[in-house]
């Protein structure tokens, strides 16, 4: 079992291999490459199940005794397992009173919380100046959970896509990139160091760019893809700066475990952690669609619906949430999450949930409703992490993945029948023709709206409980708590509107009624599986405090939440009947208002036509708070004009001037060199040498008479002179 924990790298390796396989051989296969993708993801899913089981086994039987030998053998085989000190967090054990009862509880608690460290495998990639760059895998509960979510959703999306994009001109290409997308996300969630995380992060961004722009022949689609990519670049700068800050702050290490451990042990200065957290928050804002960098996310609906489901449920957008969860030690200390009552992360999340929820009301496009709903729900997750409810945030990620994937695939199924995404113009009354889609969509909506006992209720309630109970002095985070409650009502209401417009009322579409029909089994099967998961996923973390048997309660917290030294000592909210009741009441109110307004036609209909204030508000929302105008018109337009003019001026005057000047002076220098140096000096030297040699020869030839006796007389004469010189001068 532990072999899987140590060799978890094969999981991303499989879809990565099929990516190339599909690209090169996909078109020759009988199913155009889809079978490779589905096979790979099935295998990954099975392996993720094994990994999950292995992790559960490890938590239940923590490796206490054998960890030294294990470490030794690991070193021998080339890998290395970082096993920090096993430490037991004894909660309440130091209170000193009531030894009889509390002591027993403390012992039980201690057994429960024996630290189980992540299984880390690392290999040196290269060394440079004493810094080791490693690649590796890190498996803990978080990774195992993410593996399962990603592989389940991705597998179902693969199956769904075989019908949905069947016959598409780039069918094979589509499946290839689905594989790469899954591989990137799987690599991201098991990243051992921050550099590897960035690689996965960027790959996910790249794949979403490719898939959003799948139908790039139409300009809006390629624009949307570019927008997604470029908006993400903004946050990626934050990611890079944050990671580099952490690298230097944490004694030059990229290792996530070490960075977190040092942050928890207080070995990194608070300022450095704050700077890094702020930079990383920018990355989360772009990747996870937080206000005000969320604008790319609704536009990303230009991609095929299965891609939207994959992006919104399991991959792309949850990468940001995952990153915060992974580097939680940094955020915990950086934002003083445990001791403050308001911080950047919580406010960003809280604000985003309301912003997204409000915008979902004015959308006519069913996918855009879901997109803004995703923004809103991601806001919940970020908010949960911001208030310190780590488990609640990740649990919401877990449940949200299932019901949001279900809703997206359901909307795709409807649009498959009516050939449009416009709820107002082309849908209505679809429940008559599409019973399966209708039922699964209803289940997803109820789960999203937070009606018990479906999944969304449990996770959302935990977040709200966290927001009300955690923080400094146990006073909670009052501002974001209010935001959370408002959004709970908004969510219920806009989902009621969405369901009404799509499935109830009169059919308003243009496709002939006879042609409306339920989608095929390859679409309805994934829908039902996801709907089933949306019902039962909430059971994974039923509240504790003896409401349900201990063996059933808080399983998610028990297995997913890390307990090693690399995870901060967070506290957990208790189940609060009041919070749950208020949240149910608010959600119920939302549904009731939606029901009354849409189903019963009560309330001020046509208000937006009559009242200028309401109309202004509606226009404001329809234009998405004018954020897009701000970005493209004011910021981009305001910078690109002057920049272009300045660039033109620079080009004409400076660059051209330099080039022309260089050209002219080069020509002048060339002429001068030809005239003076080449013709004058070089040729002059050569000719002069020749002439001189000729003249010298003319003079010297006179001495060469050819008469031997003359030579002899010269010889003797010279000898005489030499003899005289020797005799007179030297002797």
């Amino acid at each position: 079992m532990t072999t899987m924990l140590e060799n978890v790298w094969v999981i991303p390796a499989i879809p990565f291999a099929t990516f190339w396989g599909i690209l090169f051989f996909g078109k020759r296969l009988p199913h155009k490459g889809a079978e490779l993708g589905i096979g790979a993801l099935s295998l990954c899913f099975a392996l993720s199940l094994v990994t999950g089981a292995a992790w559960i086994d490890r938590v239940d039987n923590p490796p206490v005794s054998d960890h030294t030998t294990e470490q030794a053998t690991e070193h021998a085989t080339g890998g290395s397992e970082i096993d920090g000190t096993e430490h037991a967090q004894v909660a309440g054990g130091d209170s000193g009173t009531g030894i009889g009862v509390l002591g027993a509880a403390a012992i039980e608690e201690a057994e429960e919380h024996i630290a189980v460290d992540a299984v880390v495998q690392q290999w040196t990639w290269w060394q440079n100046g004493g810094i080791e760059f490693t690649v590796g895998t890190m498996v803990d509960g978080l990774t195992a959970m993410m593996l399962l979510v990603v592989t389940v959703v991705s597998l179902l999306v693969h199956i769904y896509s075989t019908d949905y994009v069947g016959g598409d001109r780039r069918y094979t290409h589509f499946f290839a990139f689905l594989s790469l997308f899954s591989a990137s996300m799987l690599m991201l969630v098991m990243a051992e160091n921050t550099l590897q995380m960035i690689v996965g992060w960027e790959l996910v961004g790249l794949c979403s760019f490719v898939l959003i722009g799948h139908w790039w022949e139409e300009k809006p689609n390629s624009d949307a893809a570019l927008k997604a990519f470029l908006t993400n670049r903004v946050g990626d700068i934050g990611m890079l700066i944050g990671v580099i800050t952490l690298f230097f702050a944490a004694n030059q290490t990229w290792s996530i475990v070490e960075i977190n451990s040092m942050a928890n042990a207080g070995q990194i200065s608070h300022t450095a952690l704050l700077v890094a957290s702020l930079c990383l928050t920018a990355a989360v804002m772009s990747k996870s669609g937080q206000f005000f960098l969320h604008t790319w996310l609704p536009d990303a609906m230009a991609g095929p619906t299965p891609v939207s489901a994959l992006i919104h449920a399991a991959t792309m957008v949850v990468a940001g949430v995952f990153m915060v969860a992974r580097l939680y030690g940094v955020f915990w200390d950086g934002f003083s999450i445990g001791t403050s009552n308001i911080n950047v992360l919580a406010v960003v999340g809280g604000f985003t949930t309301i912003v997204g929820g409000v915008l979902a009301f004015v959308q006519a496009d069913i996918k855009k409703v879901l997109a803004y709903s995703t923004i809103s729900q991601l806001g919940y997750m970020v908010m949960a992490l911001g208030v310190g409810a780590w488990t609640a945030g990740l649990f919401h990620l877990f449940t949200h993945a299932f019901f949001k994937a279900c809703l997206f695939l359901g909307s795709g199924s409807v649009s498959h029948a009516v050939h449009s995404f416009d709820m107002v113009k082309d849908m209505g009354g679809m429940r008559k023709w599409m019973p399966h889609t209708f039922r699964t969509f209803m289940i997803g909506s109820i789960a999203l709206a937070g009606i018990p006992p479906l999944a969304g209720f449990w996770s959302k309630d935990e977040i709200l409980a966290g927001a009300s109970q955690l923080g400094g002095g146990g006073d909670g985070y009052p501002v974001v708590l209010v935001m959370g409650f408002i959004t709970a009502g908004l969510t219920a209401a806009y989902m009621t509107r969405c369901v009404y417009l799509t499935f109830f009322g009169e059919y308003r579409g243009h496709t002939p009624v006879e042609k409306l029909h339920e989608s095929g089994p390859r679409i309805t099967l994934p829908l039902w599986i996801l709907a089933g998961l949306a019902i039962v996923a909430g059971l994974a973390n039923l509240p504790g405090d003896s409401i349900v048997p201990d063996g059933w309660a808080l399983r998610f917290e028990h297995f997913v939440e890390p307990t090693g030294a690399y995870f901060p000592a967070i506290s957990h909210p208790h189940f609060s009947g009041l919070t749950a009741l208020v949240s149910i009441a608010v959600a119920g109110l939302g549904v009731a208002i939606g029901y009354a307004f849409y189903f019963r036609q009560l309330g001020p209909h046509g208000l937006t036509q009559r009242s200028t204030v309401a109309k202004a508000g509606y226009t404001f929302l329809e234009n998405r708070y004018y954020l897009d105008h701000l970005y493209t018109g004011v910021i981009a337009g305001g910078t690109k004009g002057p920049i272009a003019r300045a660039a033109y001026w620079t080009n004409q005057n400076i660059i051209d001037g330099i080039v022309n000047g260089v050209g002219i002076s080069a020509r002048r220098i060339g002429l001068w060199v030809y005239d003076k140096i080449d013709q004058g000096i070089v040729d002059g030297t050569v000719n002069g040498l020749g002439l001189g040699a000729g003249a010298g020869g003319e003079v010297l030839r006179e001495t060469q008479t050819g008469r031997v006796q003359q030579y002899a007389s010269v010889l003797f004469g010279s000898t005489l002179v030499l003899a005289l010189v020797i005799a007179l001068v030297i002797v």
């Binding site: 010297l700 030839r701 006179e702 001495t703 060469q704 050819g706 008469r707 031997v708 006796q709 003797f716």
Partner: protein, 99 residues
Amino acid sequence: MLLNQFLVLSAVLFCTGVYGVIARRNGVLVLMSVELILNAVNINFVAFAYWHGDVSGQVFALFVITVAAAEVGIGLAIVLLIYRNRSSIDLGQMEQLRG
């Protein structure tokens, strides 16, 4: 015995040889004059060797005689070939190597 007498004899022979080499036109006579010069040198070698009581000068003289014999052999052969080609051994007409 006086060394001077030998040196004077040697000098007279040497000057006679030089005069012959420079002034005579006959190639054979020029070669003979060269022999005179060489023998003047030999006399000097032998005289000084005797005077110093050292035989190396006499050995040197023997070497000079040997080399002179070879030189005369080659020289006479050259003169003979010149005569065959030009029917004359007048060195005054030998100026084909003029520059």
